[in-house]
């Protein structure tokens, strides 16, 4: 059993990463909860944003946390257009066709990135990337802290949007009762598109936050899509609080597994957790109670 | 021994009593109708016999053997065929293929099942539509297909769930005639639930009346329509207007 400081570091590091995971999963959860779409291209969107951050850093010397703001806007708009102009036609088609559509997009984006940038890893090396905060025996990466802070801010903004704005409430209405929303005259296609845009924006922000924590390769997509799904299912499909809690749970368990077992066993824990949860409580931690 | 015995059967859903202590029996080769106002528990009782629900209390016996609580496919294997109130045809399959699926219950080979299916379709007047996709049928024909499919399984007891709903009077009379001849020629016993009194009076040898989940009357149609308890709760002036069919 490693010494307490190591465990504490792992827990803190895992929590911080988990917050970013939570933001990423939040996007997926919102899209699924509202539009009822399983976004298999979620990870690829994040990877795309990461490459954007890399490009902005190498080309324009922009710090990823600045790029983040632009990325949110760009991806938000792109997501809106994608949903409104394209995916919307598939809303009423069978579920498996929607899944296949998103899988197709995922393949195209992911391999498009491979075509454009090649398979080699890219990274962003800011001046503070290797610095850490020292709190007694604890060592916390600055980049990780900033990432978590950015994620918290983004999440808070999202939460405020859904809670306090008219559009946000309308979107929640759509999620609760799509037919009723239509009958009440809500512009459902527009609201779906806003939701997708927000989901894409959140994942772009998460990507820019993560870009200093990992190496960027074109093949990151599927791994993060799966991770987002694990988080969403652990937390409860369609529950945003659940996505955040799930993110934390996964972040911490990954970090601990990396410390206590071996680093490569990290994802095993996530998937193991997924399996156990699907068997024991398929509706997730925050999902509605079993009938 | 009666073919079907329902003894003191009760079923509640989350505290709401759907059926309470219902008892009746059905003699072989006869037609029994289960009637009662909406919410009386007819469909629940039906589904209890068909194996959709398990009774909380009581016993259901087919030819002396208990079938209460058996899963639906075992109930069918025991000799009970059923139709659904909202018809459930295999939409993508042809009429003949629908019937073959049913016939495979009693036949070992597909060719044997096909022969049985053809015969059953003939009986139900659907032979001309054998190759039509089930989704393209009219409502009346879909009802017949439901009956044909259930009949193809070679049941001793046929459960018909509100087969007449939504049909025009001529269609009702046609279906009544078909059911009568099916009962006669196949020797099958029929238990049906119905709102359409015209059909009930034309078909039933025995009527069982349900109200608030309890059996309030049992007997021949002629006596049921005069039973004060029945008239009181349900039939009203319909009894005077409705006449036993020819």
């Amino acid at each position: 059993m490693p010494a307490l400081p190591y465990v504490a570091n792992a827990v803190i590091s895992g929590t911080l990463t988990g917050i970013v995971y939570g933001l990423m999963a939040l996007g997926l959860s919102a899209i699924f909860g509202v539009v009822r779409l399983v976004n298999f291209a979620h990870g690829e969107l994040m990877t795309l944003a990461m490459y954007g951050a890399v490009g902005a850093f190498q080309g324009l010397a922009l710090d990823p946390f600045l790029t983040m703001i632009a990325a949110a806007v760009v991806f938000g708009g792109f997501g809106y257009v994608l949903q409104r102009g394209f995916i919307n036609r598939f809303i009423h088609r069978p579920e498996h066709l929607q899944m296949l559509l998103m899988i197709a997009l995922a393949i195209i984006i992911g391999n498009g990135l491979l075509l454009a940038f090649g398979p080699d890893a890219r990274s962003v090396q800011t001046s503070y990337q290797l610095d850490s905060f020292e709190l007694g025996p604890l060592l916390v990466d600055k980049a990780r802290v900033y990432a978590a802070v950015a994620a918290v801010v983004a999440t808070a903004l999202l939460a405020a949007f859904f809670r306090f704005t008219l559009t946000g409430k309308a979107i929640r209405a759509c999620a609760d009762n799509p037919i009723g929303a239509r009958v009440a005259g809500l512009p459902v296609a527009h609201l779906y598109a806003v939701t997708f845009g927000l989901g894409a924006a959140s994942v772009a922000v998460a990507g820019c936050a993560m870009v200093q924590l990992i190496d960027v390769t074109p093949g990151l997509g599927p791994g993060y899509t799966l991770l987002a799904f694990v988080i969403v299912i652990v937390g409860g499909l369609g529950s945003m609080v659940g996505a955040l809690l799930g993110g934390l749970a996964i972040g911490v368990s990954e970090a601990l597994a990396g410390l206590l077992i071996t680093p490569s066993a990290k994802s095993m824990v996530s998937f193991g957790l997924l399996v156990v949860l699907l068997l024991v409580r398929p509706q997730g931690l925050m999902g509605p109670g079993r009938r | 021994m009666p073919l079907l015995e329902v003894e003191e059967v009760s079923k509640a859903f989350r505290g709401l009593r759907a059926v309470a202590g219902a008892s009746f029996s059905v003699e072989g080769q006869s037609i029994t109708a289960l009637i009662g106002p909406n919410g009386a528990g007819k469909t629940t009782l039906f589904n209890l016999v068909a194996g959709v629900y398990r009774p909380d209390r009581g016993e259901i016996r087919l030819r002396g053997r208990s079938i209460a609580g058996l899963p639906a496919h075992r109930v069918c294997a025991a000799g009970v065929g059923r139709t659904f109130q909202l018809v459930k045809p295999f939409a993508g399959l042809s009429v003949l293929d629908n019937a073959i699926v049913g016939a495979l219950n009693g036949e070992r080979t597909v060719s044997g099942a096909r022969a049985r299916a053809v015969a059953v379709l003939e009986r139900l007047g659907l032979s001309g539509k054998a190759e039509v996709a089930a989704s393209h049928l009219t409502l009346a024909d879909r009802r017949r297909l439901e009956v044909a499919r259930a009949l193809a399984t070679r049941p001793s007891l046929l459960l018909l769930d509100e087969m007449m709903a939504g049909l025009r009077p001529t269609e009702i009379d046609e279906l009544v005639g078909v059911l009568r001849s099916v009962q006669r020629e196949e020797g099958v016993t029929i238990l049906l639930t119905e709102h359409v009194m015209r059909a009930v009076m034309a078909l039933a040898d025995q009527i069982v009346v349900l109200h608030h989940g309890e059996v309030i009357a049992r007997g021949e149609p002629a006596s049921i329509v005069r039973d004060p308890a029945v008239l009181d709760c349900y039939l009203g002036e319909d009894a005077a207007a409705g006449e036993p069919g020819a």
């Binding site: 066709l97 997009l105 995922a106 498009g112 491979l114 998937f271 997924l274 399996v275 | 499919r149």
Partner: protein
């Protein structure tokens, strides 16, 4: 169905057997006249057609979208390769063990799906999770080579060793042809008999099927187990054809997607869909790579982008796949699973 003049209808009906005969002759003669590159591409197409057909059994018959079928390919491959490398047990015996293990795993997943009623997105994700668990697991199992891979003796191309399944590319080609044709035949056979009727009924309306005496749990389990068993065989072939196995590669999510692309593009739930889809994928995908190579360009990822575009176009414009319109052109009714 067409209502042309009788002469047209007759010509159309003759087209199908003629096409079938031509295709059969071409397939049998291919290794004799084609280059070794063509043979390897054709083997790949047949492999995809076979494994797609195996996957289609689970989707078409049991209605479950498995996005983790690479699990069975990988398990089958590693089991057969493992006992070959460590104990010298040949592939024909290893085959049985692989099938047994994959069937058991398939049955387990079936139990989860049908007894615990996990379906739709959750089930698809569960299948992915199992494949990922296998990937990570095998990365840590040194007996199977770990992340560095498991290597088999490379085949002597000039000597046909049927027992050890080593030989020239043509041998592998004919083996895969036999498998693909066998799978097609098996599915066609099953479709005509009781299993076909019952599976279609369950797919259409499970409750109505139960009311007709069908034990839907048993039949759905049968489809899932059959699917996993068939896929296991593909894994064994893969091991002895490629001679090297890496967990990252064989259990990967991309592999699972590759498996479903064929049937989806060809036509979900149809008999010939997986074949048509596999051919389209290989023609367009590897065709593109070939053209680029001839132009002196090597672009990793190009093939997959083509696959993705094909999937996208089919999903938008031909959601029932490429086979139904093709079938109509040949005057054949597309047989649905």
């Amino acid at each position: 169905m067409t209502s042309d003049r009788p002469a047209d209808a007759g010509d159309r009906r003759r087209l199908a057997p003629i096409t079938a005969f031509t295709v059969a002759v071409a397939l049998l003669a291919l290794p004799l006249v084609g280059s070794s590159y063509l043979v390897s591409v054709a083997t790949l197409a047949l492999y995809l057609a076979y494994v797609g057909q195996a996957w289609n059994v689970m989707m078409g018959f049991a209605g479950q979208l498995s996005l983790g079928h690479s699990l069975y390919v990988g398990l089958g491959a590693y089991v057969a390769a493992g006992i070959f490398v460590h104990f010298g047990v040949g592939p024909w015996a290893g085959l049985w063990l692989a099938v047994a293990i994959c069937s058991a795993v398939g049955a387990f997943i079936g139990l989860l799906a049908f007894r615990l009623r996990i379906s739709g997105v959750q089930l698809s994700l569960l299948t992915v999770a199992f494949a990922e668990l296998a990937r990570i697991g095998f990365d840590h199992l040194d007996w199977f080579g770990g992340p560095g891979g498991l290597f088999l003796r490379v085949a002597d191309r000039n000597h046909i060793d049927l027992l050890g399944f080593r030989g020239p590319p043509a041998m592998y080609y004919y083996a895969m042809l036999a498998l693909a044709a066998g799978a097609l035949g098996l599915c066609a056979f099953l479709l005509r008999r009781r299993p076909g009727y019952y599976w279609r009924a369950i797919r259409e309306d499970e409750i109505a099927a139960q009311a007709l005496g069908i034990d839907t749990f048993r039949w759905k389990m049968l489809a899932v187990v059959l699917s996993s068993a068939m896929t296991a065989i593909a894994g064994v072939f893969f091991a002895f054809y490629n001679n090297s196995l890496f967990p990252e590669q064989i259990f990967g999510f991309g592999r699972s997607i590759e498996i479903i692309l064929g049937p989806v593009i060809g036509g979900l739930g149809t008999l010939f869909g997986p074949v048509v889809g596999a051919v389209a994928l290989v023609l367009l995908g590897d065709g593109t790579t070939e053209i680029l190579a001839k132009a002196g360009v090597e672009l990793p990822g190009a093939r997959q982008v083509v696959h993705g575009l094909l999937l996208l176009l089919v999903t938008i414009y031909l959601p029932n796949g490429l086979w139904p319109p093709l079938a109509r052109a040949l005057g054949v009714r597309p047989r649905r699973l």
